[in-house]
Symmetry: D2
């Protein structure tokens, strides 16, 4: 997590102020539950809320850090500091709980907070993609397979495809959020030996979590693995959009361009440069998030009821994966929203191959006119290769090819060269993706 | 995919016989739809089913391979061979379709077939885990954090925890199966220029798939990425179970043992060895499946409407990940079902630390008896460290500690040393995991 | 390892015939050493060579497999079959050795054999790159950063850069080969309790290996990890070359093209297509090899003196990584050797930006003529942006810009537009890479 | 890079103060070279050193950051600030160079600085391992394969094995350091169009680097990939040592223990706990470093002469991988140096299996006494299985087995039960690893 690639709302989730606030809520709600059970005095629970419910300021955080240097234990440092506010009844705080009850439930809250921000990022991206998709729904452009001109699509279809992909990512993230949103307050090895399961249910409800069915001091790590794996998929989708834009911006294509503000310098050495640096950056950020999936998967097989090897991993990838993805999604949304589109270039590229993009339609027409598929393929390829080698335009050549003309006639050949033929189902596809055609 | 780690049902999904069968069904159903639309003669569709609907034998597969050596194109080789059976009306097969329509829809069918087998594997594992969990529900054993004795759990809780984890994995796999189960018959760049969307819907319905909302010659690869990422999570859970068994079987612990058949040799050099080789093997297989996640993620960002770099990756990880996981899940099920459990060793280990496992309960009792948490911690640790250093049993030491006795009294101290205290909520947890307590 | 992506020489290394041959040699050389030590009769060692030194035919392999079904142990099956040839003195074979002595030393031999093939593949690639580099040394072409035209380079420089990279890869692979080429015959836990270290030295020498300084039944897996990590780096370099070619072949650039044989079909649907499918394939194969690095790294931390979790991983990635890389390197060599280069397109692209590629030189000239860098940058950018927006050619605009002209004069401006200025050090660079300029 | 897992010397390498210092040196040395070539006035080069050669204080860093907010370009911000110190002759700074010349050469310097620290960390670890190895050279302990008792080794052999592994890692890192230590000052696309190669050679020499043979604005990323892959191997070796210690510390084994200071608290809930938290932490840190290998490999295939997708990856993994590895190596050294070793427990475990560890030796003796290997194996296994099932000690059983006694006699059987037999070659192995036996 480095400032250059962080946004404040996501970064704040991982700051000590937020963490301690969540710890406080867990402990205070647990006290309420313990008081209801009669395990601790009601006055103690009340004291915790009345005297302890204050913001965790930078000063308090620093003080807790000081205490931790002595105790070498973060949760003990926290409760020690809290006791300074609450007074003698503080001894009832944390009764029957183990540190992991606090740490793991806190992580669950942080990850759901992070997931909510990411879901909102995706909503922003979806909105931008939808707007641009409808704006460009009918802007016919070259479709390319293998980087080679194939048949026409529309710019809008590209945006719509990304929209469909991010709808899926939204669903996946919502599922991953649910997977991670559990609360464990079950004691040293998860048996509730020293604490009633009611405490867990109570805290879970107050924090918007569900009780973990079976914890073993810790929440099982397959949940976190699934969460980070899902972020890895989203990062890869992001890279797909970024790669498309980078391709379309390259000098020879230049159908789109990242917005370039008037004063911006593209290169210290070459003043003419306007580079797709934002989408290149997103490509790199995607690699980073993807690189965190395997460590998260390796965290699953902890020893027996738990070991603590996952902890250092999560201290790093918890913030890094969510902050990086948040930043990258916001940047991508911005790129999409402001992407400059060049209709002239799009049209020029569409016409570049002299009509070759209609080759399949000609092939089908010849088949329907009675030629075998094999013969038709040969006839089309024969003319296509001439165009490819710069020896004429496809339509002209076909009209000079006796075998082709004898099957179709000149007028019918010309009628095949029609962009509308390719875009006639765009509305259908938009209906599928957006539930509306315009 | 190597025979040693393959089971026939899963391997068969990836054999040419199954692949060509699926291709045939795609093409034949597509012909039906085209005939309904009036694009091709009804007689042609009928001929395909009546003359072409035959098993793909080894001979036919070999013949198709021969043809491919000439055409250098697998789908063309396939339709060429099919034409030999169907006769002249075969020219209506594959009309308006592109190879990827067949290949990608086929892959979707294969992956759903594979997912169904894997779901059934998980069901088998869940059944074995549930049976063993209830058998050992009340077998108290040592719970360990950091590999160090903590407090008692039961063997049944271990099985129950794995059951809960594989319930989650089942849900994740079901979601991933749904994600992957789409059909694309949309032509060269996904615009339906040469084929009506009705063909896609028809084939999808017949094959138990849903139509892909927006394909671009191919089905978007975020779906496959999610599928393989999910397999990676399941593999990691499998490793967790395997690791637990390996730990419990090590000579110094030896609470459980993989079933060892009478004639089996553990080591060519050391005749006394009985090694947890099955769970070690599963550990390695988990690494393999996990290693396929990143290539699947890297497949997402294909160029423009598609490039073919994903293909070689999927040719390998499609079979390898599913076959390996299927084999490993079956092996794990077998290990769990036949695991030998040694109650004597379990009890011996439970008592190894001279009662230290009750330390927290003593701590809590002291707190409730009025000591500050800090003083209580010191009193307990003082005695615990003596036990740890081999200077007596915990109960005896506590009863000789004036400060402790003054707060609790000897009888109350003894009453704290009670296993039932730790297992009293096992039923509650079983209820959560299995919906029943016995 | 699938036939489609395998070449016979590399595949053969991993077949049982080769494996058993290596096992035989290890056992037979070990017998020689044991005989020299007087541990076994000299006649026994002689008998092994005289009666056992026969090719491992398919029949023998099948017979060994039959025996293994009974013994459930591969090395015992092997020695049992060998005993059928050698007779009663076969009981002296494998004395004091453990299976891993045979298995791990065999793997070392196989990996060095594989490394030798890969080194030879790289030599082939280097030769092709060198030839193409000198052929195109002076073919000026557009250099691109961020996919955007920057300043001129030459096609030869591209090849030379790949050559330099594969020289480094050759060195890395040679180091990795050395790392992996050790022999361990040290017994059940590596202590030589039952076998003299002389046996290890003797076998090592005969097989071209060095004795493993400290083995623990097995050769430590950091060696294998380094080997596979090195393959991952090589795969990534391969992907770099493949990506460059894919970019240069895309329709709008089309400066190069993979060789396309006359009868080849690019697309079943679009007869005009000529796709860079070989380099796309190499891109996917690179992902596969890279995906095997992490499992190899995870194999390092085996438990105590050894566990067997690494075995299944190596059974798969040993063949898969080497066979795939061998195939891909050969394919890449073929692509490079036969790459079609289009000088016209190269020139057209070079001129596409109307001279903008000289912008930096103009900037420098203005600075040298006394303008501040900031002012010069503004002057150049002002004109560059006009060109970028299609409002003229760069040279013309500069000659109409009073500020620029006042500093440089028209003639001097024109003189700056000189390709030779950019290529003047190509010879120097070739000297560095190839040790010769022509 | 989070403070908890950072050490100041390594962290400092990645701080702006160090970065700007390196940038200054690159620019200043480049000015010297340009002055020698007569490209810029000698007075300018002199001015840079005399007026600009001052420490980069926090104030200067902040000021550069301010400028960058306007210029949106880091190198321009840097040279702008430098100009404020140097005066008008500052316009000669950076002539003919491109930002990457500075950035990439700086990264090379930072990575070599980091490598030097890591090499020194490894030296520290090697020293600790060597000391502990000789201390415990003859402390016989159980060797374990598959977690099951096998035959005796010594504690010293374990340390020696790790020493040998880290010797190899030292060599690998030295090679990776050399790979990364190159200087590129070659201009916008690496052609030296605007700058003489002499500048590069001069700066390289002054900074202890070698000139990059062929750069393309940037240094090729296979170098960095190899560097990070090497760190991944080292991290995995570290995990191996950590895993061994975690195993040996588990309660049932407890042969060693991480040093536990008097006031330390192992658990807030269970006062008796002494957990191997340092080696667990190292295990997690190893996962993190390993997770950075794949992003580094994905950075290799940049587009054409360069794109900037690698940059964000390196901004994160550059510091994170080196800082984390440095911290973990130092922590591991500390763990090894202070590891508490329990000879009593080691001996107890060694005797746990009632002499089964001598089974192979008995097997060999029987073979040498004329039994077939198969019969001998059966005889040994028959008795071994009784021991395993708790029905007696191995020596007693063998002496009651008529077949065994008839071949060996009682006295000879007893003589086989000798620890010295297993440790007789420890000196030989130490000689190989350390070049000395004591």
């Amino acid at each position: 997590m480095i400032p250059r690639y962080s946004r404040p709302d996501m970064a704040r989730i991982w700051e000590p102020e937020n963490k301690f606030r969540i710890w406080f809520e867990i402990e205070a709600h647990a006290c309420d539950a313990q008081a209801k059970l009669g395990v601790i005095p009601a006055s103690a629970a009340k004291a915790v809320w009345e005297k302890g419910n204050k913001p965790y300021t930078a000063e308090r955080v620093a003080h807790i850090d000081e205490i931790e240097k002595v105790t070498k234990h973060d949760v003990i440092a926290f409760t020690t500091e809290l006791a300074e506010h609450v007074g003698p009844e503080a001894r009832f705080i944390h009764q029957g709980m183990t540190s992991s009850d606090v740490l793991d439930t806190c992580l669950a809250v942080q990850l759901t907070q992070a997931a909510d921000l990411l879901l909102s990022d995706i909503d922003g991206l979806l909105a931008a993609l939808e707007r641009r998709a409808f704006e460009t729904r009918d802007v016919a452009c070259m479709g390319r397979s293998h980087g080679i001109h194939a048949e026409p699509v529309t710019i809008g279809l590209k945006f719509a495809g990304f929209h469909a992909e991010f709808q899926r990512n939204r669903e996946r993230l919502a599922a991953a959020r649910k997977d991670i949103a559990t609360c464990a307050i079950s004691g040293a090895v998860g048996t509730f030996a020293n604490i009633d399961p009611f405490v867990e249910s109570h805290v879970a409800e107050k924090l918007g979590l569900t009780p973990e069915p079976l914890s073993t001091q810790i929440i099982p790590r397959d949940r976190h693995a699934m969460f980070f794996a899902t972020l890895g998929v989203i990062a890869s989708s992001m890279e797909r959009v970024a790669t498309e834009i980078r391709h379309l911006q390259r000098t020879e294509v230049r159908e789109v361009e990242e917005y370039f503000s008037p004063g911006q310098k593209g290169s210290s050495a070459m003043p003419h440069k306007r580079n797709p640096v934002l989408t290149e950056n997103i490509t790199g950020l995607a690699r980073l998030v993807r690189g965190m999936v395997t460590p998260a998967l390796e965290n699953v097989a902890l020893w027996h009821e738990r070991d603590i090897s996952h902890s250092s991993v999560e201290r790093m990838i918890g913030p890094d994966a969510t902050v990086t993805l948040d930043f990258a999604l916001a940047r991508l949304t911005n790129v999409v929203a402001n992407l400059v589109i060049y209709p002239d270039a799009i049209l020029r590229n569409l016409n570049q191959l002299g009509g070759l993009i209609f080759s399949q339609r000609v092939l089908l027409a010849l088949t329907q006119a009675g030629m075998s598929r094999e013969d038709a393929y040969k006839a089309v390829q024969r003319n296509a290769m001439q165009v490819w080698n710069g020896q004429g335009r496809f339509l002209d050549l076909l009209k000079s090819d006796d075998e082709v003309v004898s099957h179709l006639g000149s007028a019918a050949i010309e009628a095949l060269f029609d962009l509308g033929y390719h875009t006639k189902h765009v509305g259908t596809i938009f209906q599928r993706v957006f539930g509306r055609q315009e």
